[in-house]
Amino acid sequence: MIAFQLKRSSRDLVGHTVLILFPLALIFFFDYLYKNVNIETGMGMGGQSPITALVIGFALTFQIYGSAISFETLAEDLYSPMHDRIFSSPVEMRSIILSILVSSTLVSFLQTAILLVFSSIILGASFPSLPFVLLVLLVSVVFNQLFGTVLLLLTGGVKTANMVTTIYGSIVPMTVGLYFPLPKGEFFRLLRMYGSPMSLANTASLAVMEGQIRLFIICLAVLLLLIAVLFFCLQPLIRRISI
């Protein structure tokens, strides 16, 4: 079932192109700005080069939009006549939802990995402790896919889920300082580092690259906790739409 869902998710070439090429274009643009104009990035990147911080920031941002991979696929199965076709079979709703979640997570993570590879080859971005960075990015993908799924099951419609993730994906990167520096002060420092799941993933990635293992573990643990919360929210929602 997962193989079928993977094949199905991979067929959306336009979606993949947008989710890979658009962040790449933005990384190019901001990298150009940082190299040629005297402005600061607000990412709090410590010892990392701006391009590395940018790649992580945009990869995390587009993972939020990538949550549409799972909720749009799920909506096609749960909120259309396809529902009756699938659930006239003995398959459990949980299996369908999990198979879509797993395949969407893999596809979204692959998009992130491609972004990192391109940035590394073309723009010279470097990612120390790469396996741990990838781990954080994978955890972030899982969070976003689960978040989109819970949102869809909660609202019962793909439109609302799309709207919420679009707004969330537009505002949250600003609170991380991706597009412009945040004002100085403790509140904005905390907001940038821990204010949202994206901030936590960003902080964890930058921390592990700088060798701040404690900070990396704390942020990753909170992200995992959030995933657990979403997973527990998923159970009653699945029961609600099953008969």
């Binding site: 079932m1 009756d84 008969i243």
Partner: protein, 312 residues
Amino acid sequence: MLLQVDEVIKRFGSTLALDCCSMQVEEGEVIGLLGPNGAGKTTCIRSIIGLIPIDEGSITVFSQKQDGKNREIRRNIGYVTQEITIYEQMSGRDNLAFFASLYGMDKLSIANRIEEVAQIIGLEGRLDDKPKHYSGGMKRRLNIGCALIHSPRLIIMDEPTVGIDPQSRSFILRFVKQLARDGSTIIYTSHYIEEVEAVASRIYIMDNGHMIAQGTLPELIARIQGDHFIEVEVRIASEEKKLQLQQLPDVKEVALEGNRYRIVVPGGIPVLDKIVLILSEQGLVTINTKQPNLEDVFLTLTGKQLRDEVQS
């Protein structure tokens, strides 16, 4: 008994969708389920499959109680949905394999069965194409194939020929008849009376949530044998004249289809002169009396004409 629906009641809020609905199906039968839009056919089917819970009554399928959670029942039902429910971006083969996997079939059985089903639905050679490149009829056939892939004991077809060309329709009817000859048990709902006449060994007529009649085609026609059916074609038909005809004391039913009035009158009562009098100003073209068919049974029992329902 393969299926027994007993006095089932299903409400959606204040709407009574199934009103003491009963039905029995024996192994190997092809049941035609006829009814106008909103009669409750799809609700009845969804209840049988266990997709919606019922409020009262009971449903027994394959001698097991249908409570919506019985996976064994679902494993043995093939449901052809009214809408085309296939993945257009995936190949025909992928679609068939996916739906087979939902029934727990192993890879080898799936591969073998796909070839068999492809032959039944006439899609050999096109299985590796995506349905978005198929004609409407081919999509309908794949839609049916996905419901046959796991060799179900009971096949439920909800309007399987809606919106397709006559050639594809006759192809589908041919293979439904073949399935019936091979011993499959089928529940076939359709707006097209001639389809039900062609495939069904027994027919249920449904209206307002309950089964108002059931029997073989000759049995149903025998129920209205005493009635006469008069068809009057005029140049300009009107609803006003239809109402006037309905008000005649000896007229049982009147339906208007295009410029043609279809009138049911009790046998032996001379009413033709009154009908002609009312319609004479409309420009009479032809007047025919005819033997009753299933459409006349439907009209007599429900007061509705199925074809009008399709058009509305």
